[in-house]
């Protein structure tokens, strides 16, 4: 009896662990990573909204690979080798990709032959300058300036600047437990903006929170931020 079961079991297991070679493609194995930088410094973005589109021309079907850019401006993806066109959709992101000579547009060419690390130089419309985020107890004070980087015809107006607080270290316009704003028109001195917000009660109770300030531009969906900072109280 035992031999009989084994005689069935062993080939069955063997069949399961082996696979046929014909119908399996190799998994993608070229790692493509990097950061979006302005003058060498990565820019601070939304935690879950900014995507770059990667298109590989030449196929019958048109379909893109979305590459997520995290809140520290870094991205990484595992892809097949190939020549891709990289494109970041304008008007959703708070920065512009400069024109390049290769494509004579803001589309970038990405040659992928094995692993590749690439920092992409972009120009934000605005930057948060000298952000100082402090707290006294559960009251958070933000003092910072904003600097207009793009001043030509592509410039954008500031709709508002906002201080965001969250209970985890993802902090953005759509990940927050408290916020305080000042409208763009009400900013007296762009070099000295002050905002104050209160940390609300959190469940479960915790004695720390994460904060940062962001700039919302008119006609741009996602914000640009200062680095995330942890506060304790």
């Amino acid at each position: 009896m035992k031999t009989k079961i084994l005689s069935i079991l062993i080939p069955a297991v063997a069949l399961m662990v082996s696979s046929c070679a014909f119908d399996n493609y190799d998994a993608p194995d070229a790692k493509f990573d990097g950061r979006l930088v302005y003058q060498g410094t990565p820019i601070n973005l939304d935690s879950r909204n900014v995507y770059m589109e990667l298109w590989e021309p030449g196929w019958v079907k048109k379909s893109k690979v979305d590459i997520h850019v995290n809140q520290y401006g870094a991205f990484s993806a595992v892809l097949f080798n190939g020549t891709y066109k990289l494109f970041i959709r304008r008007n959703t992101v708070p920065f512009m990709v400069p024109r390049n000579d290769q494509t004579n547009s803001d589309t970038l060419l990405v040659e992928l032959r094995g692993n590749k690390t690439m920092d992409i130089e972009v120009t934000p419309y605005y930057l948060v300058k000298n952000a100082s985020l402090t707290n006294s107890g559960k009251t958070v004070h933000a003092a910072f300036g904003i600097e207009k980087i793009i001043t030509d015809s592509n410039q954008k107006e500031v709709e508002r600047v906002t201080l965001y607080i969250n209970n985890v270290n993802f902090v953005s316009a759509d990940a927050k437990i408290a916020e305080a704003s000042i409208n763009g028109g009400d900013i007296a001195d762009p070099n000295a903006i002050a905002l104050t917000a209160q940390v609300p009660d959190m469940t479960p109770m915790q004695t720390y929170a994460y904060v940062r300030v962001g700039i919302k531009l008119r006609g741009v969906d996602y914000l640009i931020y200062s680095p995330i900072q942890k506060i304790e109280f």
Partner: protein, 622 residues
Amino acid sequence: MKRIFVITFVLSLMFSVACNDDVFLSKQPNDLLNDEQVWSNRDLVILALGDLYNRFPDYQTIENWGEFANFDEAFASRDYGRHQNNDWGFGDWGYWDYSYVRALNSFIKRCAEATVLSAEDRQAFLAEARVLRAAVYFEMVKRMGGVPLIVEPLTYDYSGDPSSLQFPRAKESEVYDFVIRELDEAEDLLLDPTAGGRIYSRATKGLVLAMKTRAALYAASIAKYGETTPSEMTSGGEVGIPASMAQGYYQQALAAAQELIGKGWYSLYRKNTDLRENFTNIFLDKSNNPEIIFVEDFKLKDKFHGFTTNNQPVDQTEEPGDSGWLNPTLNLVQSFEKLDNTFAPLAIGTPGNFVYYDKITDLYEDRDARLWATVILPGSQFKGRTIDIWAGYILADNSIITSGALGGQGTLPGRSAAEQVVGKNGPIDQVEKSAQTGFYVRKFLDPAIGSGQRGIGSAVWWVRYRYAEVLLNAAEAAFELGQADVAAGYMNEVRRRAGFTIDLTAADITFDRIVHERKVEFAFEGHQLWDMKRWRLAHKVWDGQNLGLTTTPGKADESSTKPYGLWPYKVYDPGSPNDGKWIFKTIIPGKAIGIDRFRLRNYYSEIGSDILSRNPKLVPNP
């Protein structure tokens, strides 16, 4: 041995029978009719036309009520996921129905040469199909921007090259022009809406003018307000309309509306002297209803819907599994004006300094009659019963006595017996089907016995076009053309029917007024998203900021990103003059954790990559 013989015998029998290939392959299918058969019989042509009517596109309807909870009009008491996302997908509201367009095109082509139809029929059917086609293109341009204009049924030649079937997108303005032109041409060929009894569910001259004024108004406002969202424009005009065209479209919108008003076919529904009941009945009265222009009609036993089944108050439900789906929000409720033409949040006071009301309905007595007709307020009536909505007792020290079960019992201090301490419809937070915002929906809710049962359902019709919209379209177009006095006249007509006794003057008419009037008049009629889009208000109102409930409900661009509710409490304070009175508290349903954010790319739905792959001539939306 014998068994083997039997098996062999049976098998050989099976193989010896074969079908006659010739007969089999040329056999006529008996479950569908081909083109030739349809076009040889008038009744079948009418059936085909009926099918085309059935495919008429809608978004939020009484058959698709869940979609009403996508924005800030209502909270979904049984589908919390709608309130737990921050963003709408870029492909949401996409509509790309070229199979319907093809069916219409081929109907139009065949109808023009149909010999089985009388000349009269041919002309009428043809015009109806053209109106439907205009409606489909209107729907597509509303959602996607400019789309390829296909007006002939296309046929593939099997050459291996599909490029003869691939067309580029027309400009957004060209599609609106096409819609308006088609409606113009169809108008004379159609019947008067009052010819031989009122026609509600087929295309008439009335529908043509109503659709034309709506389409022209949409195009006009996109031209005018599209300037505020320059990112949502393409250089080829596939999306976005140049501002210079606004004036012309507004004039067309006003002219079409005034033509329809001048015809005298329609008037506002005013059969009841009780204005609240009157407004409710606009949507229920199917006999000689002078306001209704175009509907999707229903008929018990044959074609009915479950809006009432799913949205009836839970304590009087006729179908225990269903009910209480849509809970209108306080955002909407407080938008209804006071009868002295002013806007104000509901006068509830502040915690610790509540305003006390003798009757639970007193809070709303000074509001627009449309509020009572759109929303089931706590303490109002439905199907002859008082709607029991209250959240519990509040004691002198502001502590609350309530229960976690609908109509649950508790014991008040100083009393020995347990008694009911919460309404039979709640509100109890996170209890499905209870009125979690403190309200149920009344518009389109069928008061007929049995309408709440799945097997019977409701035959209340879905109103797509009604006369009040024509008046408000005229008002908006006139206002935008600088004729505020004309606008005030049309607005007042609609407002008097809602119980306003003080007329607005020309000076009172503002953009905010126009926006507000449509919001309260057409709540739960499927206008909200399209209105917010064409005014380019969507990204301002659903802006992702959590700023609390607005205190200026008459302001058009106030942020409104979460559904709020209002819970009534009964005061228990024996010996105090407030004992037995009512107070109200603003709440946010516990399941409403999302903060709505409408992104600029949402203004035009994304065209799917499958569609783009099939036709390289298509320009994607920005």
